[in-house]
């Protein structure tokens, strides 16, 4: 079916998030803060990675903070970990834009493995512990973007422009696919997440449209080759583009686990 239902919904959500972050500027008060920590209708939200860093960096333990972080983790676990990347993170939106730009100009083809994210996560943890500052919060393009939106942090925009440039010229979706430690974190969560993509081999006509649109094809393709029932990889962002583009409707969202094996 070529009506791109999920993509449209997802765009709405992504833009919604941007508006949410910008809302205090317009004088609204139902949301405060940013993605690192915020408050929606009085419910405290916290980025689990940020919380982790605070503990590692300063040893300050604010229980309420950690609790809300846990809540957020559970939320994303339910929706499939990197659902955060695909549906919420403004940088993902940015790199998607990069993706579009790549079609227009000769783009670099550097390949860096998805697993790197995990190692980056570890790296951030180590540096944070060593330096005593929440390292990722300092360099994170996510933090920069949100601050740029909510508090017009002008200088941050430069870094983002730089990121976009790299994305286009060096490697496709470099940041989101391979480097973002937060993505790495949610990839771990996503492995055991109940919300997944369901694949019905019977319907598949092997047209390969899905693998063309998928930001992390290397986890989609093998699963399809093996004809497994679910895409179990934590790297899948549940973005649903494959669902939208599959002419046979062989790919759908599903909730719950199937015991069938297959590459993670």
């Amino acid at each position: 079916m070529n009506f791109r239902r999920w993509t449209i919904i997802r765009r709405l959500v992504q833009v919604g998030v941007l508006c949410l972050i910008a809302s205090p500027l317009a004088g609204f008060s139902f949301f405060q803060g940013s993605l690192a920590a915020g408050e929606l209708l009085g419910i405290p939200l916290a980025d689990p990675l940020a919380a982790l860093q605070v503990v590692l960096a300063s040893g300050v333990v604010a229980s309420a903070f950690l609790l809300s972080a846990l809540g957020v983790t559970l939320f994303y676990w339910l929706l499939g970990g990197r659902f955060f990347c695909g549906w919420v993170c403004p940088v993902y939106l940015l790199t998607e834009l990069g993706d579009k730009l790549r079609l227009l100009i000769p783009a670099g083809k550097l390949e860096i493995p998805l697993k790197t994210k995990g190692w980056m996560l570890l790296a951030v943890a180590c540096i944070t512990a060593l330096s005593g500052v929440p390292f990722f919060e300092i360099v994170s393009p996510i933090g920069m973007t949100t601050r740029a939106i909510a508090f017009d942090g002008r200088s941050a925009l430069l870094c983002l422009a730089g990121l976009l440039l790299v994305e286009v010229t060096l490697a496709r979706r470099l940041w989101c696919r391979s480097l973002c430690p937060l993505g790495g974190f949610y990839a771990l969560v996503g492995r055991v997440a109940p919300l997944r993509l369901r694949f019905q081999p019977a319907r598949c006509s092997s047209c390969g449209d899905c693998s063309r649109v998928c930001p992390v094809a290397e986890v989609l393709v093998p699963s399809l080759d093996h004809g497994t029932e679910q895409i179990r990889s934590g790297d899948c962002t549940r973005c649903g583009r494959c669902v939208d583009c599959c002419p046979e409707g062989a790919l759908t969202y599903c909730f719950g686990y199937s015991d069938q094996g297959g590459p993670r």
């Binding site: 408050e39 860093q53 300063s58 300050v60 860096i112 601050r147 508090f151 200088s155």
Partner: protein
């Protein structure tokens, strides 16, 4: 398993070693080398006037997650976020007293708003706040010390007669007037910066600085 698969496995392992391990390691080293010195630089860069209840600078830099909630909580728009030029302090909240000092809201909304504990929830009344200490850095140019009736800093101090008092002394220049010298009391001054804002000189002669650490002294009197 077929040989081809074997092949891909080995390739991917090598690939794994080359890419997904080497790169993060490189980054760890690089990042570490970058951060630690720049952290020191941030300290050397001198004094950020932090919002009320902020932990000691080093600890604060660790505990603050740069979310900006305190900025949105401040009714006087006194709190702003540091830009990239602040090194590791990027995104942390601070106050430029000369432009808009902390008005010491009775209910301290900024502290309430801080999620990570970088602003200490234990600080509940304004008298307990310690953002810094006001210091008269330029006695030569202080009009009050010159004998003029200024004392604007004193009269605007929210802890008037506690944090700043007037020490009157005879003015030998005129012989019949009093020099009414404003004196800051470190144990009471909260460092809100209202005095710095209100000083009438072009360059404020009273400014908020990092509160000096008490020095161990064997002598008691």
């Amino acid at each position: 398993m077929s040989g081809a698969e074997e092949e891909t496995k080995r390739v991917s392992r090598r690939h794994f070693l080359k890419g997904s391990l080497a790169l993060p390691l490189a980054l760890t080293v690089a990042g570490g080398l970058l951060t630690v010195p720049s952290l020191r630089r941030a300290d050397a860069r001198g004094f950020y006037l932090r919002p009320p209840g902020a932990l000691a600078e080093k600890c604060f830099l660790g505990a603050c997650i740069r979310c900006g909630k305190c900025v949105q909580a401040c009714p006087y728009r006194a709190i702003r976020l540091a830009e990239t030029d602040a090194g590791v302090a990027i995104g942390t909240p601070f106050i430029i007293a000369r432009e808009e000092p902390c008005q010491l809201c009775t209910d301290l909304p900024c502290i309430k708003s801080c999620p990570s504990g970088a602003l200490d929830k234990g600080v509940t009344e304004v008298e307990k706040v310690r953002m810094g200490t006001a210091v008269i850095i330029d006695r030569e140019n202080c009009l009050s010390i010159r004998g003029l009736r200024c004392e604007v800093c004193y009269r605007n101090c929210p802890l008037i007669d506690r944090a700043i008092t007037i020490e009157p002394r005879h003015n030998p220049r005129t012989g019949v007037h009093t020099i009414m010298e404003p004196v800051v009391h470190r144990d009471k001054c909260v460092g809100c910066g209202i005095c710095e804002k209100s000083c009438v000189r072009e360059q404020p002669v009273i400014v908020v600085q990092r509160t000096p650490l008490p020095q161990q002294d064997a002598y008691e009197f």
